[in-house]
Protein backbone atom coordinates (compact mmCIF):
# COMPACT_ATOMS: atom_id res chain seq x y z
CA UNK A 1 0.00 0.00 0.00
CA UNK A 2 1.33 3.37 -0.94
CA UNK A 3 4.44 3.32 -3.09
CA UNK A 4 6.56 6.39 -3.43
CA UNK A 5 9.44 7.31 -5.66
CA UNK A 6 12.21 8.78 -3.59
CA UNK A 7 15.47 10.45 -4.49
CA UNK A 8 18.14 10.07 -1.87
CA UNK A 9 21.80 10.95 -2.08
CA UNK A 10 23.80 8.33 -0.24
CA UNK A 11 27.50 8.85 0.28
CA UNK A 12 27.43 11.34 -2.54
CA UNK A 13 25.67 9.06 -5.03
CA UNK A 14 22.15 9.92 -6.13
CA UNK A 15 19.65 7.07 -5.98
CA UNK A 16 16.09 6.99 -7.20
CA UNK A 17 13.91 4.14 -5.96
CA UNK A 18 10.32 3.18 -5.63
CA UNK A 19 9.64 2.21 -2.03
CA UNK A 20 6.75 1.20 0.15
CA UNK A 21 5.61 3.85 2.65
CA UNK A 22 6.58 1.72 5.59
CA UNK A 23 10.08 0.82 4.41
CA UNK A 24 12.54 1.77 7.12
CA UNK A 25 15.55 3.77 6.11
CA UNK A 26 17.87 1.10 7.49
CA UNK A 27 16.30 -1.54 5.26
CA UNK A 28 16.45 0.81 2.28
CA UNK A 29 20.18 1.20 2.83
CA UNK A 30 20.91 -2.42 3.61
CA UNK A 31 18.62 -4.23 1.22
CA UNK A 32 17.82 -1.88 -1.62
CA UNK A 33 21.27 -0.30 -1.87
CA UNK A 34 23.18 -3.27 -0.37
CA UNK A 35 25.08 -0.98 1.97
CA UNK A 36 25.27 -3.47 4.81
CA UNK A 37 27.71 -1.53 6.97
CA UNK A 38 24.75 -0.01 8.81
CA UNK A 39 23.51 -2.60 11.28
CA UNK A 40 20.33 -3.35 13.19
CA UNK A 41 20.57 -4.09 16.89
CA UNK A 42 17.42 -3.39 18.81
CA UNK A 43 14.40 -2.12 16.85
CA UNK A 44 13.32 0.15 19.69
CA UNK A 45 15.63 3.13 19.26
CA UNK A 46 17.97 2.13 22.05
CA UNK A 47 21.18 0.72 20.59
CA UNK A 48 22.29 3.05 17.81
CA UNK A 49 23.83 0.31 15.66
CA UNK A 50 21.82 1.75 12.76
CA UNK A 51 23.11 5.32 13.15
CA UNK A 52 23.61 7.21 9.89
CA UNK A 53 23.98 10.89 9.12
CA UNK A 54 20.85 12.45 7.67
CA UNK A 55 21.78 15.84 6.26
CA UNK A 56 24.84 15.63 8.48
CA UNK A 57 22.95 14.84 11.67
CA UNK A 58 23.24 11.42 13.31
CA UNK A 59 19.90 9.60 13.54
CA UNK A 60 18.76 6.06 14.17
CA UNK A 61 17.83 4.77 10.75
CA UNK A 62 15.62 2.00 12.17
CA UNK A 63 13.27 4.75 13.34
CA UNK A 64 13.20 6.83 10.21
CA UNK A 65 11.16 5.96 7.13
CA UNK A 66 12.93 5.80 3.80
CA UNK A 67 10.31 8.22 2.44
CA UNK A 68 11.37 10.74 5.08
CA UNK A 69 14.83 10.76 3.51
CA UNK A 70 13.44 11.76 0.12
CA UNK A 71 15.43 14.67 -1.25
CA UNK A 72 17.98 14.46 1.51
CA UNK A 73 21.56 13.35 1.98
CA UNK A 74 22.49 10.24 3.85
CA UNK A 75 25.97 9.27 4.86
CA UNK A 76 26.84 5.78 6.05
CA UNK A 77 30.03 4.14 7.23
CA UNK A 78 30.80 3.25 3.62
CA UNK A 79 31.12 6.96 2.88
CA UNK A 80 33.75 7.73 5.50
CA UNK A 81 36.87 6.74 3.60
CA UNK A 82 37.83 9.35 1.04
CA UNK A 83 40.24 8.68 -1.84
CA UNK A 84 41.64 5.63 -0.13
CA UNK A 85 42.31 7.55 3.05
CA UNK A 86 40.53 6.61 6.24
CA UNK A 87 38.58 9.30 8.01
CA UNK A 88 40.31 10.46 11.22
CA UNK A 89 37.54 8.73 13.16
CA UNK A 90 38.22 5.41 11.44
CA UNK A 91 41.92 5.91 12.05
CA UNK A 92 41.24 6.69 15.72
CA UNK A 93 39.18 3.54 16.22
CA UNK A 94 41.94 1.51 14.54
CA UNK A 95 44.79 2.98 16.55
CA UNK A 96 43.07 2.92 19.94
CA UNK A 97 41.36 -0.46 19.62
CA UNK A 98 37.94 1.17 19.72
CA UNK A 99 36.22 -1.87 18.30
CA UNK A 100 36.02 -5.58 18.96
CA UNK A 101 33.18 -7.42 17.26
CA UNK A 102 32.66 -4.46 14.96
CA UNK A 103 28.89 -4.54 15.08
CA UNK A 104 28.23 -1.26 16.88
CA UNK A 105 31.27 0.34 15.25
CA UNK A 106 29.71 1.94 12.17
CA UNK A 107 27.02 3.62 14.25
CA UNK A 108 29.51 4.63 16.89
CA UNK A 109 31.78 6.18 14.26
CA UNK A 110 28.95 8.08 12.55
CA UNK A 111 27.96 9.61 15.89
CA UNK A 112 31.59 10.45 16.58
CA UNK A 113 31.99 12.12 13.20
CA UNK A 114 29.03 14.36 13.86
CA UNK A 115 30.35 15.20 17.32
CA UNK A 116 33.75 16.23 16.00
CA UNK A 117 32.14 18.40 13.36
CA UNK A 118 30.25 20.40 15.98
CA UNK A 119 32.88 20.11 18.70
CA UNK A 120 36.41 19.60 17.35
CA UNK A 121 37.97 19.37 20.79
CA UNK A 122 35.58 17.43 23.00
CA UNK A 123 36.28 16.54 26.61
CA UNK A 124 35.85 12.97 27.80
CA UNK A 125 32.50 13.98 29.28
CA UNK A 126 31.41 15.47 25.94
CA UNK A 127 32.32 12.26 24.17
CA UNK A 128 30.58 10.00 26.65
CA UNK A 129 27.46 12.13 26.43
CA UNK A 130 27.51 12.21 22.64
CA UNK A 131 27.78 8.42 22.32
CA UNK A 132 25.23 7.68 25.02
CA UNK A 133 22.69 6.71 22.37
CA UNK A 134 25.02 4.03 21.00
CA UNK A 135 25.43 0.79 22.91
CA UNK A 136 28.60 -1.24 22.80
CA UNK A 137 28.76 -4.61 24.49
CA UNK A 138 32.45 -5.38 23.88
CA UNK A 139 34.70 -2.44 24.64
CA UNK A 140 33.46 -0.91 27.86
CA UNK A 141 33.69 2.43 26.04
CA UNK A 142 37.15 3.31 27.43
CA UNK A 143 38.89 2.77 24.13
CA UNK A 144 36.06 4.34 22.17
CA UNK A 145 36.57 7.53 24.14
CA UNK A 146 40.29 7.33 23.37
CA UNK A 147 39.54 6.67 19.71
CA UNK A 148 37.45 9.83 19.44
CA UNK A 149 40.14 11.82 21.22
CA UNK A 150 42.70 10.37 18.83
CA UNK A 151 40.49 11.32 15.91
CA UNK A 152 40.04 14.85 17.24
CA UNK A 153 43.78 15.32 17.48
CA UNK A 154 44.34 13.81 14.04
CA UNK A 155 41.65 15.98 12.48
CA UNK A 156 43.26 19.07 13.97
CA UNK A 157 46.63 18.03 12.59
CA UNK A 158 45.14 17.36 9.17
CA UNK A 159 43.50 20.79 9.18
CA UNK A 160 46.72 22.50 10.22
CA UNK A 161 48.55 20.63 7.50
CA UNK A 162 45.94 21.64 4.97
CA UNK A 163 46.20 25.27 6.05
CA UNK A 164 49.95 25.13 5.84
CA UNK A 165 49.57 23.72 2.34
CA UNK A 166 51.31 20.49 3.22
Amino acid sequence: MGKHTIKVTVNGDAHESEVESRLLLVHFLRENLRLTGTHIGCDTTHCGACTVLLDGVPVKSCTVLAVQADGREVMTVEGLEKDGKLDPVQEGFYQEHGLQCGYCTPGMMMTSCALLKSNPDPTEADIRRAISGNLCRCTGYVNIVKSVQHAAAAARTRQQDARAGR
Binding site: R22, V59, K60, V64, L65, S132
Partner: protein, 290 residues
Protein backbone atom coordinates in the same frame (compact mmCIF):
# COMPACT_ATOMS: atom_id res chain seq x y z
CA UNK B 1 10.40 -5.45 13.76
CA UNK B 2 8.34 -4.11 10.93
CA UNK B 3 5.29 -1.87 10.93
CA UNK B 4 2.06 -2.89 9.27
CA UNK B 5 1.30 -1.17 5.99
CA UNK B 6 0.21 2.43 5.92
CA UNK B 7 0.15 5.22 3.43
CA UNK B 8 2.47 8.17 3.76
CA UNK B 9 1.74 11.79 2.91
CA UNK B 10 4.15 14.66 2.88
CA UNK B 11 2.12 17.84 2.57
CA UNK B 12 3.99 21.01 1.74
CA UNK B 13 1.65 23.34 3.55
CA UNK B 14 -0.15 23.35 6.83
CA UNK B 15 -3.56 23.56 5.24
CA UNK B 16 -2.79 20.59 3.04
CA UNK B 17 -1.80 18.65 6.16
CA UNK B 18 -4.97 19.64 7.96
CA UNK B 19 -7.04 18.60 4.95
CA UNK B 20 -5.41 15.20 5.00
CA UNK B 21 -6.14 14.77 8.68
CA UNK B 22 -9.76 15.68 7.99
CA UNK B 23 -9.94 13.29 5.07
CA UNK B 24 -8.90 10.27 7.17
CA UNK B 25 -10.37 11.17 10.56
CA UNK B 26 -9.86 7.84 12.30
CA UNK B 27 -6.87 6.60 10.43
CA UNK B 28 -4.46 9.48 10.08
CA UNK B 29 -1.67 10.26 12.47
CA UNK B 30 0.70 13.17 12.43
CA UNK B 31 4.31 12.15 11.93
CA UNK B 32 6.58 14.74 13.50
CA UNK B 33 9.90 13.35 14.71
CA UNK B 34 8.47 9.85 14.76
CA UNK B 35 10.54 8.74 17.72
CA UNK B 36 7.50 7.63 19.71
CA UNK B 37 5.11 6.86 16.88
CA UNK B 38 7.38 4.70 14.73
CA UNK B 39 8.40 2.38 17.57
CA UNK B 40 4.71 1.91 18.42
CA UNK B 41 3.97 1.04 14.81
CA UNK B 42 6.97 -1.27 14.61
CA UNK B 43 5.83 -3.09 17.73
CA UNK B 44 2.40 -3.20 16.08
CA UNK B 45 0.90 -1.95 19.32
CA UNK B 46 -0.82 0.74 17.34
CA UNK B 47 -1.75 1.15 13.74
CA UNK B 48 -2.29 4.01 11.38
CA UNK B 49 -3.73 3.89 7.91
CA UNK B 50 -2.13 7.19 6.99
CA UNK B 51 0.86 9.06 8.26
CA UNK B 52 0.88 12.77 7.63
CA UNK B 53 4.50 13.89 7.77
CA UNK B 54 4.69 17.54 8.77
CA UNK B 55 8.44 17.54 8.25
CA UNK B 56 8.29 19.20 4.86
CA UNK B 57 6.08 22.08 5.88
CA UNK B 58 8.27 25.16 6.09
CA UNK B 59 8.14 27.44 9.08
CA UNK B 60 7.45 25.02 11.90
CA UNK B 61 10.95 24.96 13.36
CA UNK B 62 11.93 28.06 15.29
CA UNK B 63 12.80 29.36 18.73
CA UNK B 64 12.24 33.07 19.20
CA UNK B 65 11.05 35.67 21.66
CA UNK B 66 8.16 37.73 20.45
CA UNK B 67 5.47 39.78 22.15
CA UNK B 68 6.38 38.72 25.65
CA UNK B 69 6.56 35.03 24.78
CA UNK B 70 9.14 32.48 23.91
CA UNK B 71 7.69 30.83 20.84
CA UNK B 72 8.79 27.38 19.88
CA UNK B 73 7.68 25.95 16.56
CA UNK B 74 5.89 22.63 17.00
CA UNK B 75 8.38 20.76 14.87
CA UNK B 76 11.44 22.19 16.58
CA UNK B 77 13.80 19.37 17.34
CA UNK B 78 14.95 18.71 20.88
CA UNK B 79 18.55 19.04 19.80
CA UNK B 80 17.81 22.58 18.58
CA UNK B 81 16.33 23.47 21.93
CA UNK B 82 19.35 22.00 23.67
CA UNK B 83 21.75 24.00 21.51
CA UNK B 84 19.86 27.29 21.59
CA UNK B 85 21.79 30.11 23.29
CA UNK B 86 18.54 31.92 24.02
CA UNK B 87 17.11 28.85 25.77
CA UNK B 88 20.29 28.21 27.71
CA UNK B 89 20.52 31.79 28.88
CA UNK B 90 16.92 32.57 29.68
CA UNK B 91 15.07 29.27 29.94
CA UNK B 92 17.51 26.89 31.59
CA UNK B 93 14.61 24.67 32.64
CA UNK B 94 14.01 23.92 28.97
CA UNK B 95 17.68 23.26 28.34
CA UNK B 96 17.70 20.92 31.35
CA UNK B 97 14.70 19.09 29.95
CA UNK B 98 15.89 18.78 26.37
CA UNK B 99 19.19 17.39 27.60
CA UNK B 100 17.61 14.40 29.35
CA UNK B 101 15.02 13.33 26.81
CA UNK B 102 15.83 9.88 25.44
CA UNK B 103 19.37 10.07 24.02
CA UNK B 104 21.29 12.49 21.80
CA UNK B 105 20.49 10.65 18.58
CA UNK B 106 16.78 10.46 19.31
CA UNK B 107 16.84 14.17 20.13
CA UNK B 108 18.08 14.86 16.62
CA UNK B 109 14.72 13.63 15.30
CA UNK B 110 12.32 14.07 18.21
CA UNK B 111 10.35 17.30 18.35
CA UNK B 112 9.03 19.45 21.14
CA UNK B 113 5.53 19.40 19.69
CA UNK B 114 5.59 15.64 19.36
CA UNK B 115 6.73 15.25 22.93
CA UNK B 116 3.62 17.13 24.07
CA UNK B 117 1.09 15.91 21.51
CA UNK B 118 1.84 12.26 22.21
CA UNK B 119 0.12 12.81 25.55
CA UNK B 120 2.44 10.42 27.33
CA UNK B 121 2.74 11.34 31.01
CA UNK B 122 6.21 9.77 30.94
CA UNK B 123 7.46 12.36 28.46
CA UNK B 124 9.52 15.18 29.89
CA UNK B 125 8.25 18.37 28.29
CA UNK B 126 4.73 18.23 29.72
CA UNK B 127 5.93 18.78 33.29
CA UNK B 128 8.21 21.61 32.18
CA UNK B 129 5.45 23.31 30.23
CA UNK B 130 3.12 22.99 33.21
CA UNK B 131 5.71 24.66 35.40
CA UNK B 132 6.19 27.42 32.85
CA UNK B 133 2.46 27.95 32.34
CA UNK B 134 2.81 27.53 28.59
CA UNK B 135 0.14 27.70 25.95
CA UNK B 136 -0.20 25.26 23.10
CA UNK B 137 -1.17 26.57 19.70
CA UNK B 138 -3.31 24.15 17.73
CA UNK B 139 -3.99 24.78 14.08
CA UNK B 140 -7.00 23.16 12.47
CA UNK B 141 -9.53 23.73 9.73
CA UNK B 142 -10.95 26.70 11.61
CA UNK B 143 -7.61 28.30 12.16
CA UNK B 144 -5.51 28.69 15.25
CA UNK B 145 -6.48 28.37 18.88
CA UNK B 146 -4.35 28.49 21.98
CA UNK B 147 -4.92 25.82 24.57
CA UNK B 148 -3.64 26.55 28.05
CA UNK B 149 -1.28 23.76 29.06
CA UNK B 150 -3.44 23.01 32.10
CA UNK B 151 -6.24 22.00 29.76
CA UNK B 152 -4.11 20.22 27.22
CA UNK B 153 -3.61 16.76 28.74
CA UNK B 154 -6.99 15.09 28.99
CA UNK B 155 -6.07 11.48 29.71
CA UNK B 156 -3.56 8.77 29.17
CA UNK B 157 -2.13 9.36 25.68
CA UNK B 158 -4.94 11.79 24.94
CA UNK B 159 -4.86 15.56 24.57
CA UNK B 160 -7.22 18.40 23.80
CA UNK B 161 -6.10 18.37 20.17
CA UNK B 162 -8.84 17.34 17.77
CA UNK B 163 -7.92 14.70 15.23
CA UNK B 164 -7.67 17.35 12.51
CA UNK B 165 -5.52 19.74 14.51
CA UNK B 166 -1.75 20.05 14.49
CA UNK B 167 0.31 21.37 17.34
CA UNK B 168 2.10 24.23 15.62
CA UNK B 169 3.57 26.29 18.41
CA UNK B 170 4.30 26.39 22.11
CA UNK B 171 4.12 29.80 23.78
CA UNK B 172 5.90 30.36 27.02
CA UNK B 173 5.42 33.63 28.87
CA UNK B 174 8.79 35.34 29.01
CA UNK B 175 9.90 35.19 32.63
CA UNK B 176 10.26 38.44 34.53
CA UNK B 177 13.55 39.37 36.14
CA UNK B 178 14.63 37.25 39.09
CA UNK B 179 13.16 34.10 37.55
CA UNK B 180 14.75 30.70 37.37
CA UNK B 181 13.81 27.15 36.64
CA UNK B 182 15.19 23.66 36.69
CA UNK B 183 14.26 20.15 35.67
CA UNK B 184 15.52 17.18 37.66
CA UNK B 185 15.04 13.67 36.36
CA UNK B 186 15.80 10.31 37.89
CA UNK B 187 16.30 7.72 35.19
CA UNK B 188 17.69 4.22 35.38
CA UNK B 189 20.03 4.92 32.49
CA UNK B 190 20.33 7.27 29.56
CA UNK B 191 17.41 6.73 27.24
CA UNK B 192 14.96 5.65 29.90
CA UNK B 193 11.73 7.33 30.83
CA UNK B 194 11.75 9.00 34.22
CA UNK B 195 11.32 6.99 37.38
CA UNK B 196 10.26 10.41 38.57
CA UNK B 197 11.09 13.94 37.51
CA UNK B 198 10.19 17.41 38.63
CA UNK B 199 10.12 20.74 36.87
CA UNK B 200 10.18 23.93 38.92
CA UNK B 201 10.01 27.52 37.73
CA UNK B 202 10.05 30.39 40.21
CA UNK B 203 9.98 34.15 40.13
CA UNK B 204 11.30 36.02 43.15
CA UNK B 205 10.11 39.34 44.43
CA UNK B 206 12.36 42.23 45.38
CA UNK B 207 12.66 40.97 48.92
CA UNK B 208 13.63 37.52 47.80
CA UNK B 209 10.23 36.02 48.51
CA UNK B 210 8.65 33.74 45.93
CA UNK B 211 6.09 35.58 43.81
CA UNK B 212 5.23 32.76 41.47
CA UNK B 213 6.10 29.10 41.48
CA UNK B 214 5.25 26.53 38.85
CA UNK B 215 5.82 22.85 39.56
CA UNK B 216 5.19 19.96 37.19
CA UNK B 217 5.77 16.25 37.69
CA UNK B 218 6.64 13.61 35.12
CA UNK B 219 5.37 10.03 35.19
CA UNK B 220 3.32 10.75 38.28
CA UNK B 221 -0.12 9.70 37.07
CA UNK B 222 -2.23 9.05 33.99
CA UNK B 223 -1.61 12.63 32.89
CA UNK B 224 1.25 15.03 33.60
CA UNK B 225 0.75 16.45 37.06
CA UNK B 226 0.80 20.06 38.15
CA UNK B 227 1.52 20.39 41.87
CA UNK B 228 -0.84 23.28 42.55
CA UNK B 229 -0.95 22.95 46.33
CA UNK B 230 2.82 23.21 46.46
CA UNK B 231 2.75 26.19 44.12
CA UNK B 232 0.17 27.94 46.29
CA UNK B 233 2.10 27.20 49.43
CA UNK B 234 5.25 28.79 48.09
CA UNK B 235 3.61 32.07 47.18
CA UNK B 236 5.06 34.77 49.37
CA UNK B 237 7.42 32.41 51.16
CA UNK B 238 11.13 32.82 51.30
CA UNK B 239 12.70 30.02 49.32
CA UNK B 240 14.49 28.51 52.30
CA UNK B 241 15.04 24.88 53.13
CA UNK B 242 11.92 24.63 55.26
CA UNK B 243 9.68 26.05 52.56
CA UNK B 244 11.25 23.82 49.93
CA UNK B 245 10.76 20.79 52.15
CA UNK B 246 7.11 21.55 52.72
CA UNK B 247 6.45 22.40 49.07
CA UNK B 248 8.08 19.20 47.89
CA UNK B 249 6.05 17.21 50.40
CA UNK B 250 2.89 18.80 48.99
CA UNK B 251 4.06 18.12 45.46
CA UNK B 252 4.57 14.43 46.23
CA UNK B 253 1.00 14.29 47.51
CA UNK B 254 -0.18 15.30 44.06
CA UNK B 255 1.56 12.32 42.51
CA UNK B 256 -0.34 9.11 41.84
CA UNK B 257 2.21 7.05 39.93
CA UNK B 258 1.76 3.47 38.77
CA UNK B 259 4.15 0.81 39.95
CA UNK B 260 6.45 -0.69 37.34
CA UNK B 261 10.04 -1.87 37.03
CA UNK B 262 11.24 1.61 37.85
CA UNK B 263 9.76 1.40 41.29
CA UNK B 264 6.85 0.95 43.60
CA UNK B 265 4.32 3.69 44.24
CA UNK B 266 5.92 4.74 47.52
CA UNK B 267 9.36 5.06 45.98
CA UNK B 268 8.08 7.02 43.03
CA UNK B 269 6.15 9.41 45.25
CA UNK B 270 9.17 9.91 47.44
CA UNK B 271 11.30 10.53 44.37
CA UNK B 272 8.78 13.13 43.25
CA UNK B 273 9.39 14.81 46.59
CA UNK B 274 13.18 14.57 46.52
CA UNK B 275 13.40 15.76 42.93
CA UNK B 276 10.94 18.59 43.50
CA UNK B 277 13.09 19.77 46.38
CA UNK B 278 16.21 19.62 44.25
CA UNK B 279 14.55 21.31 41.29
CA UNK B 280 13.19 24.07 43.52
CA UNK B 281 16.54 24.66 45.16
CA UNK B 282 18.22 24.92 41.79
CA UNK B 283 15.45 27.10 40.36
CA UNK B 284 15.69 29.48 43.31
CA UNK B 285 19.46 29.62 43.05
CA UNK B 286 19.16 30.40 39.35
CA UNK B 287 16.51 33.04 40.06
CA UNK B 288 18.78 34.64 42.61
CA UNK B 289 21.57 34.73 40.07
CA UNK B 290 19.34 36.07 37.32
Amino acid sequence: MIPASFDYHSPKTLSEAIDLLGRYPDEAKVLSGGQSLLPLLKLRLGSAGHLVDIGRIPGLEYIREEGGYLKIGGRTRESALEASDLVRAKYPILADTAAVIADPLVRNMATVGGNLAHGDPANDHPATMLALGAGVVATGPKGERTIPIDEFFTGLFTTALSPDEILTEIRIPAPPARSGGAYMKLERKVGDFATAAAAAQVTLGGGGQIERAGIGLTNAGPTPVRATAAEQFLKGKKGDAAAIAEASRLAAQAASPSPDRRGAVEYKKEMARVLTARALAKAIARAQGA
